[in-house]
Symmetry: C2
């Protein structure tokens, strides 16, 4: 078993920062399904991908891939604060800049700054590739983390240009197995409900209520089967090996149309 | 009171198609908040924007703007099937194409087709601007609706290249007032719950359950206040002037931290 860790690259992204907290043998992949595939086929032991941001919400491709394409487990979670910076070529001042490049989520997080400064936003595949793309042109700036600036020898002209505080991203470390119980665990599940039976979501939440188990997250995603039909992504306290959680999962099995346990892992 | 109808432009988009179903005096705006502003300040009577797609999910900027920035009401809803086509310059064959341009949602909807054909995807601000950008270059294709091809005298090389069927988008027609009761109505609300009181979502769904009122949608969005803190967008049957709905809204007022009624309107 190799101990490589795959992550959503390129180097210099926030995911790279999160992957550094897992280990040293890091391998960059260019999209989220490729990271998952590398774990699924055994070429990497762990894979690190973003799953949700407190401002922009869920990372759709991560949730959809976990629901529909891969049978991976969540081994751990990592939460890091997202501070966006205006990255420029050395010697650039604000008045020089006409265009700014970054990942669509970073652009969205800095909309106030961009419109206040009347800069034209452009989407790049990642914050790091945005930094690379501005090299040598003072009319262009990038938005990204300090690592991106460091890698390409660029300067940071303004720090923390995101619209709001409380901006943090949650990453999951995926593996083929989840984590052993630690007494401070969370469990993640995905389920869909019978569309022809109204009130099922209420009944399902009632199972948690009766067991006095608190949810830490409930997120809906379109099931891709039509408007108003959803998959629900729910996180709650407890390990799937706990008796109380086992009872909940058994009850949910009867109430849901589809149920998938993404695993149990220590709370960050 | 003018009878202009603003819509998320440019011409040739699916929103343009939806706006045509509302009336004739159409005015194109380049982003969703600008459409809302045009209604809010009275320069347009109605504004048409997308609110959710059955595959890609909610249109975040529409939900966020309705929640936080504008006090607009939903006057009606329009649902149209989304068929994506491969748009090319006349005389182009599949082998000529190396790059494809479209809005990020359209690219996401056609990921299977794009990777099967090994074409490089690029994001454009809209499906219509993508069509315009390929004019005269046979190595470039666009993805969009048939109207976009028509406007720019382009050909459709492949029809219905989206990954899945059941692809439809729901648009809302916004105004300063909602619709009078028609006996076949829906009501849309936004609420947030007290974070320190577990089980509140269960209690809130219980209010609908007790009243035998069915939800047609429940969607979570990050409240931008931190991970695990959500706004919920809920649609249900009934008009806010119905006695039964008034009772529900009164009960919800006590159970929620924040409650906003987006209005009542006939079901499409």
């Amino acid at each position: 078993m190799c101990n490589n860790i795959s992550f959503l690259g390129p180097k210099g992204t926030f995911t790279h920062e999160a992957a550094h907290m897992v280990g040293e043998n890091l391998v960059s992949y260019c999209n989220i399904p490729a990271v998952m595939e590398s774990v699924s086929n055994g070429s990497c032991q762990f894979g690190v991908v973003p799953i949700e941001n407190s401002i922009e919400g869920p990372v759709g491709i991560t949730l959809d891939s976990l629901a529909h394409k891969f049978d991976l487990k969540i081994f751990s979670e990592i939460i890091i604060p997202i501070n966006q910076n205006l990255i420029v070529n050395p010697g650039t001042s604000m008045g020089d800049i006409s265009d700014v490049y970054s990942h669509s989520q970073a652009i969205a997080q800095c909309q106030g700054f961009i419109s206040d400064n009347e800069i034209q936003p452009h989407y790049a595949i990642s914050t790091a590739s945005a930094a690379k793309s501005i090299l040598g042109d003072k009319t262009k700036a990038a938005i990204g983390n300090s690592k991106a600036a460091e890698i390409y020898n660029l300067d940071i002209l303004k720090y923390n240009i995101q619209d709001v505080d409380n901006n943090e991203t949650r990453f999951v470390v995926l593996s083929n197995n989840d984590h052993e119980p630690t007494n401070n665990d969370k469990t993640s599940i995905i389920f869909s409900i019978y569309e022809d039976k109204p009130g099922m979501l209420y009944k399902i939440l009632g199972v948690f209520e009766k067991a006095h188990v608190n949810l830490t997250k409930i997120e809906s995603r379109p099931s891709k089967k039509g408007l108003g039909k959803y998959l629900f992504f729910v996180d709650f306290y407890g390990h799937r090996k706990d008796k109380i959680v086992q009872n909940i999962l058994n009850e949910l099995d009867n109430l849901t149309y589809f149920l998938k346990v993404l695993g149990s892992y220590p709370e960050f």
